[in-house]
């Protein structure tokens, strides 16, 4: 049995200790927001927090989570689903295209902003370069992080007359 805290809830699950956290949460615990992208910690789509630190869950055995706290994309919003500042900025800047990598992007950005409330471009590069976005939303991710950290004003929803 693997025992850990998932999104604030104590979990006991029958899983091979070597099984990556990714597959335990996806297949055994039914939380599919954490994504499989590469399986070798190269793309960041599977990023979760382990005791608050971003880790690649495709390459982190569930045994390493024993007794610790795992947070997935499903666990970052408030109790009534209130969006975090990072999530709000992802909406205001209309970041996602296909959206598949964005759980991992948001988990990486969330960890960055917790440690560094006002990251520079270089800080953003360092924290986010482990997350690939094949759709190419990088410029929006950068802007959204600056919005979430209060360095840039969010855009309004309807940018109507601009074109």
């Amino acid at each position: 049995m693997a025992n850990f805290i998932l999104n604030g809830e104590s979990i006991s699950v029958d899983a091979d200790p070597a099984m990556p956290i990714l597959w335990v949460v996806r297949e055994k615990l039914g939380l599919s927001g954490t994504k499989f992208g590469c399986g070798i910690a190269q793309c960041g789509a599977c990023t979760v927090h382990l005791d608050g630190e971003p880790v690649r869950s495709c390459s982190t055995a569930v045994s390493q989570a024993e007794g610790r706290e795992v947070t997935t994309i499903e666990g970052i919003a408030g109790p009534e689903g209130e969006l975090t500042k990072v999530q709000q900025a992802w909406v205001s800047e209309q970041v996602p295209q296909c959206g598949y990598c964005q759980s991992g992007q948001i988990m990486s950005a969330t960890a960055l902003l917790r440690d560094n409330p006002s990251p520079s471009d270089a800080d953003i590069d360092a924290a986010m370069s482990g997350n690939i976005c094949r759709c190419g939303t990088y410029t929006r991710i950068r802007r959204a992080i600056k919005v979430a950290s209060g360095q840039v004003e969010p855009r309004t929803e309807d940018l109507s007359e601009e074109a």
């Binding site: 297949e27 599919s32 070798i40 994309i73 909406v91 296909c98 370069s129 190419g136 940018l159």
Partner: protein
């Protein structure tokens, strides 16, 4: 759930073919109106009702829109959502013509049903009025018709076509037609003239009589109203939603983990098993034998299958299946292909180009007499360009969940072609297409890869063979090494300049011609003598359309070579292009605008330079300027500007997001994209050696839009890509004097 009563079904009728498509209407049991647009004769609209009705409280107003009792309007769109934002914008277009309240509009993916065939997408390739191709490119029409035939029965998403075909010719017509029927019903009920009724925010009102009502109140009565096959559509000054950057409807679910992609399928009541697969490393070979001794004893393993063209392990979890399949020693049959390395592949191309020589091959386009003009030119230049094979590498690995039971097969998968997938599954496992049900949620990227459906058929075979409901997932390594590919190509180009440096003759010959057929033709430029030829050569790896298709190589070949001509003439590359655009005012305006926003005429810092390229693809003209810093010896992009003219942009912010993405996709290929071969098998395997651009390598991208006016509108998903590689290569030349004639770039400056 709504259903049709037999006697009411008789009222179902299909309108005559019109320029905008078919409109058909039917009456629902219990009341309500059903209109479908863009359907083929023989597909009764009425049969769609149960498939799109969500619950007892809903009435179907038409097959593209339904209204529930709370006046919530749901637009039903036939295209898949793979990141391009089509769902949202198609909803915007319908809602605008319907005068719907956008806050209460929802978008729903149409079921995979033959009646949702995207007729307008196919018709785009039939209808010359939608295309801007120059008339002297006569032979390329054959290519268009080939594509049309392939797409004619497809519920397909591709070709940057959703907005400019389905949106323009179906969604808007559906919205306008439904609005007119609602007005008609209200006019009869209130006893007032229809033209005095005003619609706004999903409400009908009549000022003089003081009547007003939500659309839902007249949804049923609207069924008795005549259908207008060609309702008057709004003019631009009347748009309330079109042309505006409304927030995308799919984004809220994509930031909290609730968006469902194919790989997330968890069908209720099914206890899934998981399959991992190994496919042949060299195309066309098969597993002759295997030693699965180790895998058999591994925990969770349920079955090990040799399916001939792949080996599969089915296990309790995907991770166990993948671990086990990795241990199987497989003996593969020998490939007959002479190509073992990329040098071999390029030798095949070179042989075809050698044989074509200076005049041979099949004519793609011809104007004037290029051969004579080359002979008489004051200066001639020539160059050979190469592009490698590329994988699509969508972030969501290929996957499919299949359940075969009681003579039926349910499929859950991310696909651009649900109906073709259905046909492929049916023929593979021997069922009627009606007995195959495709569930297709969001796609985690596709870029053309999911126009192929072999992974869907594989899952169906495994499910049928084992009897398990099974989720089959390709590893990233399988996706990189054993999939379908953007083809490699080689092009030889020649140009003739007169005494003044003007380009008076142009000739190119290349080996790969797929779609769009005119991608290789520099039609916008005034070049009096042009000859473009194709010399077909065999590909070692299987072809699949890849974002912007032939433009992805041809944009690089043509716009790099035009740059070479500019430098040979001693002219500024942007001015040189402008001087050749006297018959292309839209292109000229785009190029002038990008010169303006990029500060083209201002000097760059030491070691830094700008490059420019302009390509029209999928109906949209895009010019890009890229600034590159070469002072470290390696290319570092410092700024990117793009100007686009799509005629009219339906959602500017969504459009810009697509252009930004297309640029990054193109630059990823330009900098890193390469698949090498060893023994005929692909060397690269995952993101560590098949590299993607990352956030630290992508500078600011400024995208400006020009709504040039009354022309057929262009696409968004692909047009940003083709100018990216040549703009970068041209910037590198400007900074270093080194001309890049093959991709990828990074390793040439390592």
């Amino acid at each position: 759930m709504n259903d049709m009563s037999p006697e009411k079904t008789e009222k179902s009728k299909l309108g005559k073919w019109s320029r905008r498509g078919f409109i058909g209407a039917g009456v629902l049991a219990g009341g309500g109106l059903l209109i479908g647009i863009g359907v083929r004769p023989g597909n009764p609209i009425s049969s769609l009702a149960p498939k799109v009705a969500g619950g007892a409280g809903e009435q179907l107003v038409n097959s593209w829109v339904k209204i529930d009792t709370n006046n919530i309007i749901t637009a039903i769109v036939p295209h898949c959502e793979m990141g391009q934002g089509a769902h949202s914008v198609l909803g915007q277009m319908l809602a605008d013509e319907l005068d719907a309240d956008w806050a209460n509009v929802r978008v729903m993916q149409a079921p995979a049903d033959g009646s949702y065939v995207v007729t307008d997408t196919a018709r785009m390739f039939l209808a010359p009025f939608t295309l801007n191709a120059a008339d002297w490119i006569e032979p390329t029409w054959n290519g268009l018709f080939t594509q049309m035939a392939r797409m004619a029965d497809a519920m397909i998403t591709g070709g940057s076509s959703s907005i400019r075909t389905t949106g323009q010719f179906s969604m808007r017509v559906a919205g306008a037609s439904a609005r007119k029927m609602l007005i008609g019903a209200a006019a009869e009920s209130w006893g007032v003239p229809a033209d005095e009724i005003v619609t706004r925010d999903s409400m009908l009102s009549h000022e003089a009589s003081g009547n007003s009502a939500p659309y839902s109140e007249f949804a049923t009565a609207a069924a008795e109203q005549p259908m207008d096959q060609t309702p008057t559509l709004k003019t631009r000054d009347q748009y309330r939603l079109m042309g505006r950057s409304k927030a995308r409807t799919d984004i809220p679910a994509k930031i909290n983990g609730t968006a469902e992609f194919g790989i997330d399928a968890a069908p209720e009541g099914l206890d899934l098993s998981y399959a991992a697969v190994v496919r042949p490393p060299v195309p066309g070979t098969e597993a002759i034998s295997m030693d699965a001794g180790r895998a058999e004893g591994m925990s969770g393993v349920l079955q090990i299958l040799n399916m001939g063209n792949f080996v599969a392990v089915v296990a309790d979890s995907y991770w166990q299946a993948q671990q086990a399949v990795n241990t199987i020693a497989i003996e593969w049959s020998q490939s007959a292909s002479p190509v073992k390395t990329m040098d071999d592949q390029f030798a095949v191309f070179a042989a075809a180009l050698d044989e074509a020589g200076e005049t041979g091959g099949s004519e793609v386009a011809a104007r004037g007499d290029a051969q004579s003009a080359l002979g008489e030119a004051a200066t001639t230049i020539s160059a050979e360009y190469r592009a490698p094979y590329l994988a699509h590498a969508p972030m969501e690995p290929l996957n499919c969940t299949a359940h075969v039971a009681d003579g039926k097969c349910d499929i859950w998968t991310s696909t651009q072609v649900p109906l073709m997938a259905r046909t492929e599954v049916a023929s593979t496992i021997g069922l009627d297409t009606d007995d195959v049900i495709i569930h297709h949620p969001y796609l985690g990227g596709a870029f053309g890869r999911r126009l192929g459906a072999e992974y869907v058929a594989m899952a169906a075979r495994v499910a049928q063979t084992t009897g398990y409901p099974v989720k089959l997932i390709w590893s990233r390594e399988e996706d990189t090494q054993k999939a379908l590919y953007r083809c490699a190509d080689m092009s030889r180009l020649r140009a003739g300049l007169d005494d003044s440096g003007a380009l008076v003759a142009y000739d190119s010959v290349f080996t790969q011609r797929h779609d769009p057929a005119e991608a290789s033709v520099p039609a916008m430029y005034d070049i009096a003598n042009t000859s473009v030829r194709a010399a077909e050569a065999e590909l070692h790896l299987p072809f699949q359309a890849w974002r912007s298709v032939d433009h992805s190589q041809q944009g690089f070949f043509v716009e790099s070579f035009i740059d070479e001509a500019a430098h040979a003439a001693g002219k500024d590359p942007l001015d040189y292009r402008l001087s050749m655009l006297t018959n292309a005012p839209r292109h000229k305006a785009v190029l002038e605008k990008v010169a303006e926003i990029s500060g083209w005429r201002e000097p760059s810092a030491e070691g830094t330079a700008k490059g420019v390229a302009i390509v029209e693809s999928f109906g949209t003209i895009v010019a890009e300027v890229i600034e590159v810093d070469m002072s470290s010896g390696k290319p570092v992009m410092t700024d990117i500007w793009a100007v686009c003219d799509a005629g009219y942009v339906m959602n500017p912010d969504g459009f810009r997001n697509q252009i930004e993405g297309g640029i990054v996709f193109g630059l990823t290929a330009a900098m890193y994209g390469e698949l090498e071969l060893k023994g005929g098998a692909i060397v690269q395997s995952n993101f560590h050696d098949y590299q993607m651009l990352r956030i630290n390598e992508v500078p600011n991208i400024e995208v400006a839009l020009i709504n040039s006016g009354d022309v057929p509108i262009g696409g968004a998903g692909e047009p940003g890509l083709p100018p990216a590689a040549p703009a970068l290569a041209n910037a590198i030349f400007a900074a270093t004097g080194t001309r890049v004639r093959e991709l990828p770039i990074a390793k040439q400056f390592a």
